[in-house]
């Protein structure tokens, strides 16, 4: 009797165990499936574009010549964003980890994280209604004085809705990513390295230059790559800020387009082949950001193995 009761209880608990571990495993596998499903469903919906008559694609010369200018536009916008956000982001991270008074540091870090909390559409609205008009005089100055450089060729946009403005808004949006990741890595620098440098009479900057930055270099690279991933895929800021057009070298005239903004602006009215075209553009964006993120994660993973020795 007693053994029976024990066995009954045991089997009941075992079922619960199996159900629970099965559910946990299932959820994990569901995530893997989701990621592959993203690729597969996008591919299914995009297929008509690749097999369609090239003359029917927007632009009339096939998918490659349709997607090429907006891929370049995406890269330009993301490039401007990184050019601004990388030095500023690293400096802000250094400020929080090595310059700010200890008691303030955590609070200041939270303030920078607030930048990441603001929704992208609000950045877009801010860029559209505040930043773009404010930058018009600067663009006119650039066109007058540096107009001989192709990227500042005039006449400057009268509304300020240019790819440079979009890049600046994107820079504000990727700054918190770069800052928070590099801050964490700066804080991991072995204290002994820092103290040894200071004990040898190094100034604070020499200490940072000799012990913190070399240690953090792979981490900074991956932080910048993750920021790049975000800048490439960011939609609303560009869709609102940029007055779109064909691919042009000048950064201060209206023109250029990014993949994400192209999709957002045209999707609501799209149907049939146009819909499939936009989904194909989304697939291209997915592949690009996936590659960037994979590289960044691989660098982080390798870095982890090495830094574990300390």
């Amino acid at each position: 009797m007693t053994t029976n009761a024990l066995r009954r209880q045991g089997s009941k608990g075992q079922a619960g165990d199996k159900i629970f571990s099965g559910a946990a495993l299932g959820a994990g596998i569901l995530i893997l499936i989701t990621l592959f499903a993203v690729a597969i469903f996008l591919l299914i919906q995009a297929l008509p574009t690749f097999s369609a008559n090239p003359a029917l694609i927007t632009g009339g010369e096939g998918f490659v010549s349709y997607i090429f200018p907006i891929v370049i536009g995406t890269v330009i916008a993301a490039g401007i964003a990184l050019l601004i956000a990388t030095p500023v982001g690293i400096a802000v991270a250094l400020f929080i980890s090595h310059y700010a008074p200890r008691k303030l540091a955590a609070g200041l870090g939270y303030v920078i994280d607030l930048l990441a909390a603001i929704p992208s559409v609000i950045y877009g609205a801010w860029g559209y209604l505040v930043l773009a008009p404010a930058l018009v005089p600067a663009y006119q100055w650039l066109a007058e004085n540096l107009g001989f450089i192709p990227i500042f060729a005039g006449p400057a946009s009268q509304t300020g809705k240019t790819i440079l403005t979009a890049g600046i808004v994107l820079a504000v949006m990727v700054l918190p990513i770069i800052t928070s990741l590099s801050r964490e890595i700066f804080l991991q620098t072995p204290k002994l390295h820092e103290e040894a440098a200071l004990a040898l009479g190094a100034t604070r900057w020499e200490m940072i230059n000799m012990s913190v930055l070399p240690f953090a270099r792979p981490g900074i690279v991956s932080a910048v790559m993750l920021g790049l991933g975000r800048a490439l895929g960011e939609t609303m800021a560009v869709a609102l800020v940029l007055s779109t057009g064909g691919l042009i070298p000048s950064l201060i005239k209206s023109g250029n387009q990014t993949i994400a903004a192209e999709i957002a602006l045209n999707f609501p009215e799209a149907f049939g082949l146009r819909l499939s075209e936009l989904i194909a553009a989304g697939l291209v964006l997915f592949v690009i950001t996936l590659a960037v993120n994979l590289i960044a994660r691989a660098i982080i993973a390798r870095h982890k193995e090495f830094s574990g020795a300390n």
Partner: protein, 391 residues
């Protein structure tokens, strides 16, 4: 001779030291405040002095090109950084000069990063507050046309039309994406921490969750559209599609935060539970999760704050509605972000855009308020309900 007399008058007061001082020092002592330790150092007033000087110069330079606070700040900053680091280099040497240049640049970068934050918050408050009223909060845009906006501008009457439908849509879509992603995310984290044990599958999941964090939000939206297009036909646009899209963005955040929290639950608690003969799943649900619940709750709150402001996935999944729709399984739905976007990009009345802009900023204020409350709420949950530390 005067130096010698000051020396005598200085050391004259304590009588015992007079002979020693007189015997030892025939040469005059260094002038006060410039002893050998302070040699090669800038006096204390130098840096504030340079700052004041560059403020004056910056203001002057700005007046030459048409005065504005922005150009004055830029000129002042450039002049100060250059002047201060050159002075330091001249007096204290190139190493200290470089050090002070780096210090000023780092401080400057931090101040620069605060400018957009302050500007965005100030703009949203300044332009959003006039639009917030009971009418805006509890009415939809149903029936509000360009003619209505024109009339309100011409007659100077209050702006008609509000964001109630968008608030309802935002809350419902976010609620549904939370319902989808919290169980999936938590179970995955439990698998990773309690069952996976760093096996190949667990490592693959961790890696792809990291990769998923980087999916552009618009691609997540396209995925949900493509999925429902295959299942229900190409024009399936409704709230639940948007909820699925947001879940794709939300799950990785939930997994990561839950995983971190489960990892810091002390192993002793699990072992004590096993020692009492409790089954693993009961241990997890009754011991591990309750211990970590505050961290998990704050992580979920942060994940909600992240997706509540997403615009692009809603744009391609839920369409746009002007009326109140509480059914996520049918018809188009509006959310606050798409409401803001469309009010700006396609004003209700193309000739009088001010009412639309006012509604957009009011909605932006509402949205930023929600996000900030969620963020602060997450911090509050984490600190209030944190488990008592053993030691």
């Amino acid at each position: 001779m005067s130096a010698a007399t000051t020396n005598q008058s200085n050391t004259g007061q304590p009588d015992t030291k007079v002979p020693a001082g007189n015997n030892k020092a025939p040469q005059p002592p260094a002038p006060r405040r410039r002893n050998s330790l302070a040699k090669g150092h800038l006096p204390r007033f130098a840096i504030p002095g340079i700052a004041a000087g560059s403020l004056v110069l910056g203001a002057a330079a700005s007046t030459l090109t048409g005065f504005s606070v922005a150009t004055m700040a830029i000129y002042t900053a450039i002049i100060f950084v250059l002047a201060a680091s050159i002075t330091t280099t001249a007096v204290e040497g190139p190493r200290r000069g470089k050090n002070s240049l780096a210090t000023y640049l780092v401080y400057g970068a931090f101040l620069l990063a605060l400018v957009p934050l302050a500007s965005v918050l100030f703009t949203v408050l300044e332009k959003g507050l006039p639009g917030i009223n009971m009418h805006f909060l509890f009415n939809s845009m149903n029936g509000v046309t360009g003619a209505v906006d024109n009339a309100s501008v011409e007659n100077g009457t209050p702006v008609i039309g509000g964001a109630y439908h968008a608030v309802v849509g935002t809350l419902l879509i976010t609620l549904w994406s939370t319902i989808i992603s919290v169980p999936v995310g938590m179970l995955t984290a439990i698998y990773l921490v309690e069952y996976g044990k760093n096996g190949p599958l667990a490592r693959a999941i961790t890696f792809f969750v990291d990769v998923m964090t980087g999916i552009p939000s618009i691609v997540a939206g396209l995925f949900a559209t493509a999925l429902f297009a295959v299942l229900f036909g190409p024009t399936a646009r409704m709230g639940i599609v948007a909820a699925v899209a947001l879940s794709v963005l939300m799950i990785p955040t939930v997994v990561r935060s839950t995983e971190e929290m489960l990892k810091i639950v002390p192993n002793e608690l699990r072992e004590a539970s096993y020692a009492l003969g409790v089954r693993k799943w009961r241990t997890i649900t009754k011991v591990v999760i309750p211990t970590a619940i505050s961290g998990i709750a704050s992580g979920v709150t942060l994940a909600i704050a992240r997706v509540i402001g997403e615009t692009a996935p809603i744009l391609v999944t839920a369409g746009l509605a002007n009326n109140i729709n509480v059914n996520v399984f049918g018809n188009w739905m509006a959310t606050l972000p798409t409401f803001i976007y469309y009010q700006i990009i396609t004003p209700t009345s193309p000739t009088n855009i001010d009412p639309s802009i006012q509604r957009a900023w009011a909605a932006a204020l509402l949205l930023i308020g929600m996000v900030m409350v969620l963020n602060l709420g997450a911090r509050l949950i984490a600190s209030l309900f944190a488990p008592k530390k053993g030691r």
